[in-house]
């Protein structure tokens, strides 16, 4: 059994145009590991949505991707405002993004629902005023 691989990223909250760079890098690395393209696709969409969320709502944060032989965990941690009603936030189409964010084509209210859809397990730990940690797991086999 080999040691888990860890990829760590700082997600810059001030820059929209660079959002998504971590998921691109992870995608390249996972391709080098020879993972099935379906696993890579699920992971990159789930992670991309998470990255965008952190930029829109929490002024950035950190992303850690932990690869083991059985599964991949994505841990997205921010010190943002927290999510007051997780069930509401999970509803498709629900969004608290500003008009400015909408004008950029984001904020469709599909971020969290897509993260859930493309991961196999998802856990949200959130505290108002403290921050949010989203942990997603994708099983390799």
């Amino acid at each position: 059994m080999s040691e888990p691989l860890v990829f760590h990223f700082d997600v810059d909250g001030s820059d929209f145009t660079s959002a998504g760079t971590a998921s691109v890098t992870v995608k390249k690395n996972l391709r080098q590991l020879g993972l099935p393209s379906e696993v890579i696709r699920k992971l990159s969409i789930a992670m991309y949505e998470g990255e965008i969320n952190m930029v829109i709502h929490a002024n950035g944060g950190t992303a850690d991707v932990i690869v083991t032989e059985q599964y991949i965990d994505i841990i997205l941690k921010d010190q943002g405002p927290g999510i007051p009603d997780v069930n509401l936030a999970m509803q498709e189409g629900y969004s608290t993004a500003t008009a400015q964010i909408h004008s950029l084509g984001f904020g469709a209210g599909m971020g969290l629902p897509n993260m859930k859809r493309y991961s196999d397990e998802m856990k949200i730990d959130t505290e108002i005023g403290v921050g949010t940690t989203v942990t997603m797991r994708i099983w390799i086999r």
Binding site: M1, S2, E3, L5, G20, S23, V24, K27, K28, N29, R31, Q32, L33, G34, L35, S37, E38, I40, R41, S44, I45, Y48, V67, E69, N114
Partner: protein, 418 residues
């Protein structure tokens, strides 16, 4: 895997090992070894970036010489639409086509003509149920190779329509066989007049299980001066051209996409932009777009490295020559219910995991962790002095070669940096 025969050659006497191409190769296929650039053939996608960027003209695209057509008794030229944008003060395509006859071809069949048919059938294709969104154009051979090497999850998005060059070759051959039964199959030669070295590779290597019907690919730059010599604007020429604005418009980026006659399209050109768009498609970000046209060359095919003229000037001239033409003049037979088979290809080339570290997952993980360890000892300035494009690539090369240490000229002075 059979080795893929490429169209980019290096003139070692001109290459100074300057690292310019190293930094511009989109697939990190180049290394500097013993002072000269070396291309990893498995990774090269024939995009021509290294040719475009080399300050010493040490990189060259190879295509056939016009003389290679001498072995055929009946020679057919297939001029790419981009050829029409290469000439000054020229507003009538017939002078160019007449020029092709004067330099030795027996017949000319415009690729633009086939392009109009491909456009018409693509519109039909997009009406079918279950068409992936977005549909990605299959006309640029570099894009097809890029997808089959780096974006395997997007293979299902590729339009399975043959590129206009192939359709033109098929139609031209059928036409000649019908009109000139005196020539045997082997006596008829089909020559694509190309802006693009990747087309030469595509023809030489075939594509997936599809065997190209083009016999030779000759560079626009190779016949350019010969054409200039025989093109006399004062002499009247016979009307040969049989194409509209739509077909000729394929020469530039956006030409194919606008011919879809659906505004939900996107057209990107230049390999860096193309990569960004493909990433966005993979992230499921532009699913509202129905059609995506991607061209590896800046400006589209007019930006090909086998052309003569600046791509933007060429694009402006394309507008000039097509100004007074109807939108399109080639249409499929309206009685056809299905897209004919000679316009379609079956399958994409098999995915080749060129970047995979090892066939064994656990071993790949071990190697990746070793790459991370070595990478952290390197300065992260991606200077290329070691011969690899980035510090990350240098660490990867070492691990692939089974080395535990690397030779970085600056590791001691600058130190490691993540």
């Amino acid at each position: 895997m059979d080795s893929y025969e490429h169209s980019v050659l290096l003139d070692r006497s001109k290459c100074t090992g300057c690292t310019t191409c190293l930094h511009h190769c989109p697939t990190e296929a180049i290394r500097i070894v013993n002072g000269h650039a070396v291309i990893n053939q498995d990774r090269c996608i024939d995009c021509g970036e290294c040719i475009r960027k080399c300050p010493h003209n040490a990189k060259r695209a190879v295509a056939s010489k016009l003389e290679s057509m001498d072995r055929f008794r009946y020679k057919v030229a297939l001029p790419a639409p981009s050829l029409y944008g290469q000439f000054n003060n020229m507003d009538d395509v017939d002078y160019i086509l007449d020029g092709l006859l004067k330099i030795g071809f027996d017949e000319v069949f415009e690729v633009a003509k086939a392009a109009e048919l491909v456009s018409a059938y693509t519109r039909q294709y997009m009406k079918a149920d279950g068409v992936p969104k977005p549909l990605i154009s299959s006309a640029c051979p570099v894009i097809l190779r890029l997808i089959s090497l780096m974006y395997p999850s997007l293979e299902d998005h590729v339009l399975h329509m043959l590129p206009p060059m192939e359709v033109a070759a098929d139609l031209a051959r059928k036409k000649v066989k019908k009109e000139h039964p005196e020539f045997s199959e082997e006596e008829i030669g089909i020559c694509f007049i190309s802006p693009c070295p990747a087309k030469a590779s595509y023809v030489r290597n075939n594509f997936g299980n599809y065997k190209s019907k083009v016999d030779e690919v000759v560079a626009i730059s190779d016949i350019y001066f010969r054409l200039l010599d025989v093109m006399k604007p004062d002499n009247p020429v016979q009307a040969i051209s049989d194409t509209g604005m739509t077909g000729i418009g394929w020469a530039g980026s956006g030409g194919e996409a606008t011919a879809i006659l659906n505004e939900d399209y996107l057209a990107a050109d230049g390999i860096e932009n193309v990569n960004k768009v493909l990433e966005e498609i993979e992230n499921g970000n532009i699913s509202h777009v129905k059609f995506v046209e991607l061209n590896a060359c800046p400006g589209g095919c007019v930006g090909g490295v086998l052309t003569v003229q600046n791509p933007f000037i060429a694009k402006a001239r394309i507008r000039t020559v097509s100004r007074c033409l109807p939108m399109a003049v080639n249409f499929p037979d309206p009685s056809e219910e299905y897209i004919p088979e000679n316009f379609l290809f079956d399958e994409m080339p098999a995915y080749v995991p060129v970047s995979r570290l090892s066939p064994n997952f656990a071993e790949s993980m071990r190697m990746m962790s070793e790459i991370q360890r070595i990478r952290a000892t390197l300065p992260g300035i991606d200077c290329g002095a070691c011969g690899a494009p980035t510090c990350r690539a240098h660490a990867e090369d070492a691990v692939r070669a089974g080395k535990r240490t690397v030779s970085c000229p600056f590791a001691d002075t600058i130190g490691g940096n993540r």
